[in-house]
């Protein structure tokens, strides 16, 4: 995160004694703190300084600077900001309006590895404030379509520019082993597997024959230079490969291909992953699941069930939970709650919407838990975050408290009372 780097640089350049006078500190005092990376702390304090977390601990062990803003969180619950591992936030404004969608390339090419969503992310999307006021502070904005969809980005939901929001650009490469992806490669899974293998083989060849390639002295390759670059850097370990797959045999295929090319695999969707829990655990492959789903919506997911997350977790598979939504990514906490309802331990469920997605997408050094030095993404809840009657009280992103404002709040305030003048004269603030 550029902002954080800048402030760390500032910390380094300025003399330490100068800092307290200029630093912005906030202390969240007295709540039940769930650091995720450690045990629950009753009557705890989370101290935010500038854009990072300075301290987390029991009230008596954390010294709060005298000039810190103190927020009483007693009777409330403090967690890391939630992270949704699969959204199109900032990429889709109105789902059914094509001109507002930037999450998928409209092309017949099945392999779109070079496609990066980042430059299409709109920091002023009205979806962003709505999402963060639901306690989701970080999302992966992901591409979709084809057999290889492109590269996603992890962003914090606050900032004037994409650069300010970026946590990790090109965080993962997205592929699919689904009927939809098979359709893009000749209507059969065998064709899909063939195209994926061909793409990675060509990328390997490209990486090994860079000079020949530049001189035009190689055999024909199936992809453009940019696609080859993106696949080669993924093969090189720069980012994980996220494969969207539901059917148990499709997960098998993803595991097989990942093993052949030594790829760092994650499974997304994974509706029948519970049938492969032991195998996924042995391979230590994280699975990103939707918890509020138990329907056989297609023939590749007839085994969809509510307790998928619980079964995977008990087998030792790293589980992240996603809303797989954009406009209602704010329901992520209820997804986690539903996983608890069907057997997942509460701490595992909280982990599944914080640290687990951060680990799966390579941002756990700065995100996903309340620990000193991490980015100050923190949410204060009125009570158990997984309960529908619980409210979000405060949201901090990078140490800044998010205003209680969104387009939806403006509409609410505009229409909450009827006056003598048309609503158009009320700006909703």
């Amino acid at each position: 995160m550029h902002l954080r780097r800048l402030s760390l640089l500032a910390t380094f350049l300025l003399l330490i004694p100068v800092l307290p006078a200029t630093a912005q500190s906030t202390a969240l005092v007295g709540g039940t703190v769930h650091p995720v990376s450690g045990p629950e702390i009753k009557d705890g304090v989370v101290l935010l300084q500038d854009d990072t977390i300075a301290a987390v601990g029991p009230r008596e062990e954390v010294s709060i600077p005298s000039d810190a803003r103190r927020i009483d969180a007693s009777g409330q619950v403090v967690t890391p900001g939630l992270m949704d591992a699969s959204t199109a936030t900032g990429l889709v404004e109105v789902s059914a309006v094509g001109s507002t969608r930037d999450n998928a390339l409209d092309t017949d090419d099945a392999i779109r590895a070079a496609f990066r969503v980042t430059d299409g992310i709109n920091p002023h999307s009205v979806v962003i404030p709505v999402t963060r006021l639901g306690g989701v502070t970080t999302v992966a904005s992901t591409p979709s379509g084809g057999a290889v969809a492109g590269q996603g980005a992890v962003i914090d939901l606050h900032g004037e520019t994409v650069d300010e929001m970026l946590v990790r650009d090109r965080a993962a490469l997205y592929a699919a082993f689904t009927p939809g992806a098979a359709e893009a490669t000749g209507e059969a899974r065998g064709g899909l597997a063939m195209r994926l293998r061909e793409a990675f083989e060509d990328a390997q060849f490209y990486a090994e024959h860079q000079d020949d390639y530049q001189r035009g002295a190689t055999r024909d390759l199936s992809l453009s230079r940019l696609d080859l670059e993106a696949l080669a850097s993924t093969l090189d370990g720069e980012r994980p490969l996220v494969v969207r797959a539901a059917r148990a045999s499709d997960i098998d295929a993803a595991l097989r291909i990942a093993e052949e090319f030594d790829l760092d695999l994650r499974i997304e969707g994974g509706e029948e992953a519970w049938k492969r829990a032991d195998r996924l655990a042995a391979a230590n492959v994280p699975v990103i699941v939707k918890a509020l789903n138990n329907l056989p919506t297609d023939f590749d997911r007839l085994g969809t069930r509510f307790d998928n997350a619980a079964r995977l977790d008990s087998a030792g598979v790293p589980v992240a939970i996603s809303s797989f939504d954009t406009h209602n990514a704010r329901t992520l906490r209820l997804e986690a709650g539903n996983a608890v309802r069907y057997g997942l331990a509460r701490d595992a469920a909280l982990r599944a919407v914080t640290l687990a997605p951060a680990e799966a997408l390579g941002v756990a050094d700065t995100h996903g838990s309340l620990a000193p030095g991490k980015t100050a993404n923190v949410v204060v809840w009125s009570d158990d975050p997984f309960e529908p009657l619980t409210s979000v009280e405060h949201v901090f992103i990078g140490g800044t408290e998010m205003p209680d404002d969104s387009r939806q709040k403006r509409l609410l305030r505009r229409y909450d009372e009827r006056g003598d003048w048309p609503p158009a004269y009320d700006d909703g603030s």
Binding site: V94, L302, R305, G337, R341, Q408, Y415
Partner: protein
């Protein structure tokens, strides 16, 4: 309706000749032209077309049951702590505390648990665009600008895997609707969510007829459809003008059945019934201005609208809805998926409620129909955050009593009151908690779902032998 058919025949005997005491005897209605049997003619007179495709619902065996020591949320204004509920003769018999158990009554310990009426969904497509959602399962929309001749029940696949799941979520009744790809999509189907072999066996007995209409984005823009909202409004008005003509032609012939009778038209029959006030009109509408237009058109033709569906902007015109006694069937928080849903706010339900209009939380979704109680809780929380003082019992009515009213079943289901159908859910805890599940579900007094008994967990033919079982 049985009684009514019989009466129909008697009337026909008086008016015409040749009715031999059954509905099916063919009667020549004039010397030339069309012939209609007595029952048909009576249907034209009485608007009793719902007698066609009659319900064959036959509830499973019921045992008189007494639930004891539960928190009973009646959805009728009160909560009974440590309450008892006796179901007998397929009805709610008695509510109270410390009831004595009559002989032969099965006693269920409800301590720590909650009881509510069976939940009701005013908008579902279960079995209509059933899972798996493959092309051949798509039976939502027919092509045509207005298709009032369609009957939803002819497109319902009773093996849809969603039915059993909805029941396991405590939902016992749903209005299955066609559409919303054209102006008038046809008759809805009020279903008991008890999986059966035929749609008729799921048909809620003697439920009033419903008509599904639509406005806004969906019914415009397709080939052969109006291109603009002006076009959809004009199309709606023209269709109802035709219906008025049809209705008047039949009325005058029925008053003086001497000449050649008018030709029957299935679509116009449906709309004639609407004009007679015998159908509950359900209108898919998102935007406030679209709802206002439809309300004006309804007034023009003297039609009552029972519920606006989706109604994402109902909060903007909640006073108008309250004035006209029109309910709004809404989601707790859907928005943004299309242009006319861009102004959705999570307080929509609560604001409509506060204005005195009937607020309904509907699903239109095969997942949300499994958790209407949680959706109501979400809407309740949003309302409370906006400072609206709404009780849990009132919020429960959003998924029970109010949708029952939208379906015209308010005297039979939707609250726990003596004499109502014994559609009852026993929950593992507070239904507004995320962790709560339906523990047992009774329909007409029969235990049709039990969380702990695999023999009381229905499963569709489609899922036999599938990955959930092997």
């Amino acid at each position: 309706m049985h009684v009514r058919s019989h009466f129909a025949c008697l009337l026909a005997v008086v008016l015409l000749t040749g009715c031999a005491g059954t509905d099916s005897t063919t009667t020549s209605s004039s010397d030339t032209g069309a012939e209609y049997d007595a029952a048909t003619i009576e249907n034209m007179r009485e608007g009793t077309y719902n007698d066609a495709f009659e319900s064959s619902y036959d509830p499973p065996p019921a045992t008189p049951t007494l639930i004891r020591d539960a928190t009973i949320m009646t959805a009728a204004g009160k909560t009974i702590e440590n309450g008892d509920l006796l179901m007998r003769e397929r009805e709610i018999d008695t509510l109270g505390t410390d009831l004595s158990a009559p002989e032969d009554v099965q006693v269920v310990d409800g301590s720590g648990m909650y009881v509510t009426p069976g939940l009701i969904d005013s908008h579902s497509h279960l079995g209509v665009s059933a899972t798996p959602q493959v092309g051949p399962h798509y039976d939502n929309n027919e092509v045509g600008m207005a298709t009032p001749e369609l009957w939803m029940e002819h497109g319902v696949w009773p093996q849809g895997p969603g039915f059993a799941r909805a029941l396991a979520g405590g939902t016992t009744t749903a209005l299955l609707l066609p559409g919303s790809g054209d102006l008038i999509e046809g008759r809805g189907f009020t279903a008991k969510l008890l999986p059966a072999r035929t749609p008729q066996a799921m048909k809620f007995p003697d439920a009033p007829g419903t008509l599904k209409m639509a406005c806004g984005e969906n019914p415009k823009g397709g080939p052969g459809f109006p291109t603009t909202r002006m076009g959809t409004a004009a199309g709606l008005r023209s269709t109802f003008l035709d219906a008025q003509d049809y209705h008047e032609q039949w009325q005058s012939w029925l008053n003086d059945p001497t000449g050649e009778p008018p030709e029957r038209d299935l679509g116009m029959e449906t709309l004639a019934q609407v004009l007679r006030g015998e159908m509950l009109v359900q209108v898919h509408c998102y935007r406030a201005d679209d709802m206002a237009t439809v309300m004006e058109i309804a007034q023009e033709f003297d039609i009552d609208i029972r519920s606006f569906h989706h109604a994402v902007e109902a909060y903007k015109i909640r006073d108008l809805l309250a004035e006209r006694d029109i309910s709004a069937s809404m989601w707790s928080n859907w928005w943004g998926f299309k242009m006319e849903a861009f102004d959705g706010i999570p307080q929509n339900v609560a604001l409509v409620h506060e204005a005195g209009a009937r607020a309904i939380v509907h699903s239109d979704d095969d997942l949300e129909i499994q958790r209407l109680h949680h959706e109501a809780a979400k809407a309740l929380r949003a309302g409370r955050e906006a400072g609206l003082d709404i009780s849990r019992n009132e919020a429960l009515r959003w998924v029970t009593a109010h949708p029952a009213w939208a379906l015209g079943l308010q005297d039979r289901v939707g609250t726990l009151e003596p004499g109502k159908n014994a559609d009852v859910v026993l929950w593992t805890g507070d239904p507004f908690s995320m962790y709560t599940k339906a523990h047992r579900v009774w329909m007409d007094g029969a235990l049709v779902y039990d969380r702990t008994d695999p023999d009381r967990q229905p499963r569709s033919d489609f899922e036999l032998g599938g990955p959930l079982q092997n």
